[in-house]
Symmetry: none
Subunit: 289 residues, 2 copies
DNA sequence: CCAGATATGAAATGTTTATTCCGTAAGCGG
DNA sequence: CCGCTTACGGAATAAACATTTCATATCTGG
């Protein structure tokens, strides 16, 4: 007997066999199809009561569709629910136990894998980033006198891009790069009307943390882009974007962070335009970055 | 002690008390904040293993935040996940419908749009990049004595990332950055056994073109990442990757290029590993030198 | 460096939860 | 209406699980 191991398959099978089920099993089928996340979360006892059948019937139902027990079937519902919110890395972890597929080795496979992972990360970024945070961040950037951007090592590329984009919007944007060993000197430029954008992922660069502390001391506002709610950057920041980057093996990507900073820059461009919109007409062309 | 009974409250409390927690409890806090749906679904034993703490610590953690047990706290996560799923599905639908809409203006819309455009670009990248080119490029990189990376202005971020990644694979990788106005001097380093990776998109930076010409003159091999088959970079290169970047209004993205260079770097890492494996298999048990 | 306090982790414990069992009831062909 | 088969449900059982316990390790202030 073929046992469906994904939600939509199972749904189809239940529907198609509905007619031939016994009265009690039909009752279960109806409940199961209509209360997906009750099945995913609740215990057999609870479900049995809500569906108005004895617990044993639930096990019989699962058996009828080829599962070894009700919990076995329950897994299908849980996975379905998780897949709607889990990111690529977490999903990969989920499936690693089930079928430990060998890591991709061919360049083409690696590109496919990376591309898939990044797609997932981008979708999650869009879904999980709050409009409120984005608006606040844009507002903060718009009001900044100077914008200092820091991101070292892996995050340096994102930092350079953001600086580039901000410069193209005629912002006074400065990249803290430690050139000539002058981290300290660069940090000391920051004043209370300035804004710091700090980008850092575990393991957090010492210099980035030092900057956020300095910025916090002088009262500058801060926007953090990092990988955890409890990142050391989070505590100092006014706005903290938590970005779950795609990961293939030990290699973490940057696409989501890049997408985020691009969106911030473009939003800032529109923000500028809206300010001017008071007297001029809407939809003035925006120069590219 | 007030016990949070919704997710965002709990999240806030955990973050604010993070500093005063013990080392182990911090470990749990980080896991709990960053793996919401693992907490919602997995058993204490599984979570304990993944967070690398003993099960009892999880109960202690829940107690520390006023819950009677870990399951008590778990309920908060489960409720959150259920609510979130509903939102997520809605947003996913919005995301799809967004496609043919007038220019977005709100930061949230811009992020959605950028994310969507990048997803498309990544999928196209994966579909259109030939395995053969990838293999050749990896081979060329593997054989390089020195690798010079150039990408200016918009492409600088991609170039910095590639340089970073190559350095981490112990390659002799150098970023041509024109620091101190020394473009010319940096170019003159290139020798016939070296490889140049040039990243440039229209309008092509003069310095990048100059480098490719120099490289070609001394007989160095070249890998180009650019936006057109007829790009000035294409003619000088041994391998030319044509990347169609996402574009929102006048703003072009970088995600696809970044994904490509990451894939190249990771492929190179696997290439190295295979080499070592072959060597060690073949290695004859010879003593002395 | 020591004593007291606190944090930690392995194993024991007690509870919840899934599953099985079996006597009974309902359906069905003769 | 009877005997046979299939479905059913409650109670018993087994498995999984969360939680507690306690001996040990680690910190902290004097």
């Amino acid at each position: 007997m073929s046992t469906p191991n994904n939600y939509s398959e199972l749904q189809d099978v239940i529907r198609s066999r509905y007619g031939e089920l016994s009265k009690r099993l039909q009752q279960v089928a109806a409940y199961v199809l209509d209360n997906t996340n009750s099945v995913a979360f609740d215990t057999v006892a609870v479900i049995a009561e809500q569906a108005d059948v004895p617990p044993s019937t639930l096990i019989r139902f699962a058996n009828a569709f080829g599962y070894s027990g009700f919990n076995d079937m329950k897994q299908v519902f849980r996975r379905h629910l998780m897949e709607e919110t889990a990111n690529y890395t977490e999903r990969a972890k989920m499936f690693r136990d089930l079928e430990d597929q060998p890591s991709p080795e061919q360049p083409e496979e690696i590109l496919n894998e990376f591309s898939r992972a990044n797609v997932q990360a981008l979708q999650q970024l869009a879904a999980q980033t709050s409009a409120e945070d984005l608006n606040k961040a844009v507002q903060i950037l718009a009001e900044a006198e100077n914008i200092y951007v820091i991101g070292l090592r892996r995050s340096f590329s994102v930092a350079t891009y953001l600086t580039y984009a901000l410069r193209h919007l005629n912002r006074r944007a400065f990249l803290i790069d430690g050139l000539g060993g002058m981290f300290q000197e660069q940090l000391e430029l920051i004043g209370p009307k300035d804004v710091v954008v700090a980008i850092s992922f575990s393991p957090y660069a010492r210099e980035t943390l030092a900057l956020t502390e300095t910025a916090s001391r002088v009262g500058a506002r801060q926007i953090a882009i990092t990988d955890s709610q409890v990142s050391p950057l989070a505590s100092f920041s006014d706005i903290c974007f938590v970005v779950k980057e795609a990961q293939v093996d030990a290699f973490r990507s940057q696409s989501a962070s890049l997408c985020l900073v691009q969106s911030l820059a473009v939003s800032l461009a529109y923000h500028d335009k809206d300010d001017k919109k008071d007297n001029s007409d809407k939809k003035a062309p925006v120069s590219g970055a």
